[in-house]
């Protein structure tokens, strides 16, 4: 009998006993936590209507963090491992060995950290003791609701539905390739710390991936994910697109065929652009979400993912100053029902709503317990890892632009000459997020208040401050979308996040094919 998410019922106590014993035996251990996860579910993939693969499986992992030292100097050590049945049957030894590894690692780092501080007096004065913001100890069990049990969706039924979708796409004139897949299951996460926190969270997850290639005058490809924390009802319209899997497939396929026959977008500087909530989800992700992660602002991510243009140092930054027009408010809220939904993060901190930009003024960041203390904020629960064996890092959760008061139709009807930017495609962002080029799925010209010519290869590019400052209207039609593959960390961790916003109006350079000469 394979382990299931129910197999974790007995583990919170075992985890707590192990970390408490380690703490009792090692006075220099100032803090430790243990995370354990198990996923069970099913998945299939289909290419051009033909089944490629199917699986029905489970996977588990375990990770520990130890902090060694005192208030004058601390250093951390972490260790993680994937778990099979053999390790679950020998769990005490596996966990104790992992705790010892992390503890030794922290101890060795503590020694070297002290040497560094002593050896480089001036330079190393910013090497700090590694304190963490205080949180209350919690003991809680959280089950995210679902309508249909993900585990009741059988492999045959799943395969049949995905094959049907793929075949439907291929019936459409112009579609030359269809690749899709889906999965459904449960993720259960345990968190235990030496501070007495014991948290047990279970998430149902259902997600489909659709890819189509169309041949018209040119070849056009597009892919998108339809998913949510829930059961198979997600495939029946309970998702951000509010479409069934079949309707969404038809929507993507039709649109991609029409793009394959559309002309390439022109280059137009200073254009009025109306961006839809789907596009704004990616825009917000890149130019608000990431630079509002405190580790990025505090430059701990500079080598891999860059810095944040609005935060130079503790003394020199834009907190409280304008970074956007007064029409722009942006926030993160893990209580919303997107992919960034959770009650507690992977440090056991309750997730809180954080306002990043309030009517154009930069306010605060998503943080960890350590970075909260550095920034003088309360811990707001931004730490997540893509598995228990990975180290948690600060991740945006549901990060969005707030809605305004306009009707989205009015934004278009009031525009005499501009562009409607629809759907999210691919971003390329400057190192401090100070500049972006983000492409869209469809780009329409707006002429005299109506959608006109459709273009392929469209997108917008601008300096972030200029663009955010140009926003002069936000609509009421707030929507949030799920992004399944946000990459961060080393080795790279892939995280599910929610992003969104309303339809918005601003000024940007519209860009198209790179075959079109730059003006």
């Amino acid at each position: 009998m394979s382990p299931t998410i129910r197999s974790l019922d007995a583990y919170p106590d075992r985890l707590a006993q192990a970390v408490n014993r380690l703490a009792a035996e090692n006075p220099q251990l100032s803090y430790a936590d243990v995370r354990m996860e198990l996923f069970e579910g099913r998945g299939v993939s289909v290419k051009d209507g033909v089944a490629r693969r199917a699986s029905e499986d489970w996977g588990a992992s375990l990770g520990v963090r130890c902090y060694y030292g005192d208030q004058f100097m601390r250093a951390s050590g972490m260790a993680g491992i994937s778990l099979g049945e053999t390790q679950l049957n020998d769990f005490s030894n596996v966990l104790n060995s992992l705790l010892e590894t992390a503890y030794r690692r922290a101890k060795q780092s503590f020694t070297q950290k002290n040497l560094l501080r002593k050896g480089f007096n001036g330079l190393a004065k910013s090497i700090h003791a590694l304190d963490m913001g205080k949180i209350a100890a919690h003991s809680d069990t959280v089950h995210y609701p679902f309508k249909k049990n993900p585990l009741d969706w059988g492999l045959d039924e799943m395969l049949s539905r995905m094959q049907g979708v793929s075949k439907d796409a291929l019936k459409m004139e112009g579609i030359i390739s269809s690749l899709n897949g889906c999965m459904s299951g449960f993720l259960r996460k345990l968190f235990v710390s030496t501070e007495g926190t014991v948290i047990d969270q279970t998430f149902p997850l259902t997600e489909a991936f659709l890819y189509v290639a169309a041949k018209g005058k040119e070849t056009e490809v597009f892919h998108e994910t339809l998913g949510g924390w829930g059961g198979p009802e997600v495939m029946d319209g309970v998702n951000p697109f509010e479409m069934s899997l079949e309707a969404f497939n038809e929507f993507l396929s039709h649109g991609t065929v029409s793009l394959a026959n559309a002309p390439a977008a022109p280059l137009v500087k200073g254009a009025t652009v109306i961006t839809d909530p789907w596009f704004n989800s990616l825009l917000c992700h890149e130019i608000v979400g990431h630079p509002c992660e405190a580790d990025r602002a505090l430059k701990r991510e500079a080598a891999w993912a860059g810095r944040a243009w609005w935060f130079n140092s503790m003394e020199n930054n834009r907190i409280g100053k304008p970074v956007a027009s007064e029409h722009v408010t942006a926030f993160s809220d893990p209580s919303l029902p997107g992919y960034g939904h959770y009650k507690y993060d992977d440090e056991g901190t309750p997730g809180k709503k954080v306002v990043h930009i309030d009517k154009g003024l930069l306010k605060s960041f998503l943080n960890s317990r350590e970075t909260a203390l550095i920034l003088g904020e309360e811990p707001n629960g931004g730490m997540r890892a893509d598995s228990a064996q990975s180290v948690p890092v600060i991740r945006m959760n549901n990060t969005c632009f707030a809605p305004g008061k306009w009707n989205s139709d009015e934004l278009i009807s009031e525009t005499r000459d501009g562009f409607f930017v629809m759907g999210a495609k691919t971003p390329s962002i400057g190192e401090t997020r100070q500049n972006f080029k983000i492409t869209c799925w469809k780009l329409y010209r707006i002429e005299n208040g109506e959608l006109a010519q459709l273009y392929r290869l469209g997108g917008i590019t601008e300096d972030s401050f200029n663009y955010l400052s140009s926003i002069d209207a936000c609509a009421k039609d707030f929507k949030m979308f799920n992004i399944p593959n946000c990459g961060k960390g080393t080795p790279m961790q892939t995280m599910r996040v929610g992003n969104g916003g309303p339809t918005m109006r601003g000024k940007a350079t519209v860009c198209g094919s790179h075959e079109v000469a730059l003006a």
Binding site: G77, K113, H128, S177, E220, W309, W310, E431, H514, L518
Partner: protein
């Protein structure tokens, strides 16, 4: 960590058992054991930081089976944390439960000669002591700090990067007679040094090796700071086509993003090279091959994760596209074209080694650009007036996978070229490249003679390339970050 011999015993023993099962037409058993230690560095002179931010490891081992059943169905199953007959049987049951007919699957590979690489894993890295590993991570910081001190710089500095050690072991056997093992070791150190005063410049350097003896993280730290200092007092250039020397790190970044030459990408039209086989796609001066046999290169592998010997696959020769990368599955699917070989079937996970938990995909090993005859100074002289692009950032196919377009921003280690000489530095983050990859390849006018390895975040493969000189690179001026 499990020994390679134990992995091989388990897969061979399991295969003997599978051969007795009449429901199995063909079977493949794969086992792996990986250990990745990552020491993530983070220091800011003006913000509280730890120096060594994350000191961590990830470890996994297990096995998987692929089974072609007598009824034509193909199944895959895995078992975590168990390498034994018991583990293989458990994986087999999963494969059986979830098997589906895949008409594109023909058979598992058959033996195809002897592997050429021998014993290239480093015992010192395999047995690396935890304390030594932590000390080496701090050594990178010490290198950077020593250089900063010698430059009398104590404020407005940011250092980030990592030191990592990967040990990967695998064994594979199949019912067609393949029985192989491989063991590799990789050490990498990367450091980005940013001087954040009024000028905001950034230098990056790295060191990589398959052995501990040749690994020098201290040097990576030192050189990154030296490079940052060399970028002070920069200038900007305006939008428009500009002739350029693209350095190895920047050119590797473009290749990582846009050289979509694997058959799995071609199959779904997710490559700008679809339909271009045997056609010119680049300047005659440009040739590139996948080469898994380079001694000391960290992308080298003895066998694939399907047990086939690795080798050299020319991809573009003198500007003509001559082949695609493939695993055994796609090589057989795209028969009768016999050029496609299964030399690139690997199970690279998320940077944590060759992993049993997935089926073989198509990955490059070492992508090697054939060196030309130009020294670095000669390349600069060839361009005469333009820019030297040393490092770029977030290079993405923004117009979709089938389009050759890409965009990227010029991050650092870049200079103005004036009158055939390197002149003042280029201010970082002030130029965005908006170009077509095919046009860049076609506009290569000279190739350097000194290749160097380059790595990209999240990429398992390695690129070895010299600098290239390119005419008419399309750049657009963008603003510097505001603080």
């Amino acid at each position: 960590m499990m020994e390679t011999s134990a992995l091989l015993n388990a897969v061979d023993r399991s295969l003997i058992e599978f051969r007795k099962n009449s429901a199995i037409r063909e079977a493949e058993v794969f086992a792996s054991a990986n250990r990745l230690n990552v020491y993530r560095l983070g220091y800011a002179s003006n913000i509280p930081s730890n120096g060594l931010e994350e000191s961590k490891s990830e470890e996994s081992f297990g096995m998987s089976v692929r089974v072609l059943f007598s009824d034509g169905r193909l199944g895959f199953g895995k078992t975590d944390g168990e390498v034994s007959l018991k583990g293989a049987l458990e994986a087999f049951e999963k494969a059986k439960r979830s098997a589906v007919p895949d008409p594109d699957f023909k058979s598992f590979p058959s033996p195809a000669g002897k592997p050429k690489l021998k014993n290239y894993a480093d015992k010192q890295l395999v047995d690396l002591d935890e304390a030594v590993a932590v000390d080496m991570a701090y050594s990178a910081l010490n290198g950077a700090f020593s250089e900063l001190r010698s430059q009398k710089m104590e404020s407005s500095v940011n250092l980030t990067g990592e030191v990592s050690f990967l040990v990967e072991r695998m064994a594979v056997a199949n019912s067609n007679g393949i029985s192989e093992t491989d063991e590799s070791t990789i050490a990498v150190s990367r450091m980005t040094a940013i001087l954040e005063g009024s000028q905001d410049v950034s230098g990056m350097w790295f060191d990589s090796s398959t052995s501990l003896t040749h690994f020098n993280p201290f040097h990576a730290g030192t050189v990154s700071v030296q490079k940052a200092f060399s970028l002070l007092n920069g200038t900007r250039v305006e939008s428009g086509p500009v002739d350029a020397v693209i350095g190895p790190v920047a050119f590797a970044d473009i290749l990582y993003s846009r050289l979509a030459l694997s058959l799995d990408a071609v199959e779904i039209n997710a490559s700008p090279f679809c339909g271009m086989l045997d056609k010119p796609v680049a300047s005659e001066k440009f040739s590139i091959a996948d080469n898994a046999l380079l001694e000391g290169a960290i992308g080298s592998k003895r066998v694939t994760d399907e047990g086939l010997p690795t080798g050299i696959t020319p991809l573009i020769e003198k500007g003509k596209l001559v082949n695609f990368l493939s695993n055994d599955y796609y090589a057989k699917k795209f028969l009768p074209d016999r050029r496609f070989s299964g030399r690139n079937g690997f199970r690279f996970g998320d940077g944590d080694g060759r992993n049993y938990d997935s089926e073989p995909g198509v990955y490059a090993s070492n992508l090697v650009v054939e060196p030309g005859s130009f020294g670095e100074e000669e390349l600069v002289s060839e361009i005469r007036n333009g820019i030297y692009v040393g490092r770029i950032w977030y290079t993405y196919p923004v117009n979709g996978l089938s389009s050759p377009d890409f965009t990227s921003t010029i991050r650092g280690d870049s200079f103005i070229i004036r009158n055939g000489k390197i002149a003042e530095p280029l201010v970082p983050n002030t130029l965005r490249i908006n170009d077509s990859f095919l046009r860049v390849l076609q506009n290569i006018v000279a190739v350097g003679k000194k290749p160097m390895p380059a790595l990209a975040w999240g990429e398992p493969s390695v690129v070895l390339t010299p600098s290239v000189a390119v005419k008419g690179l399309r750049v657009e001026r963008i603003a510097k970050g505001l603080y």
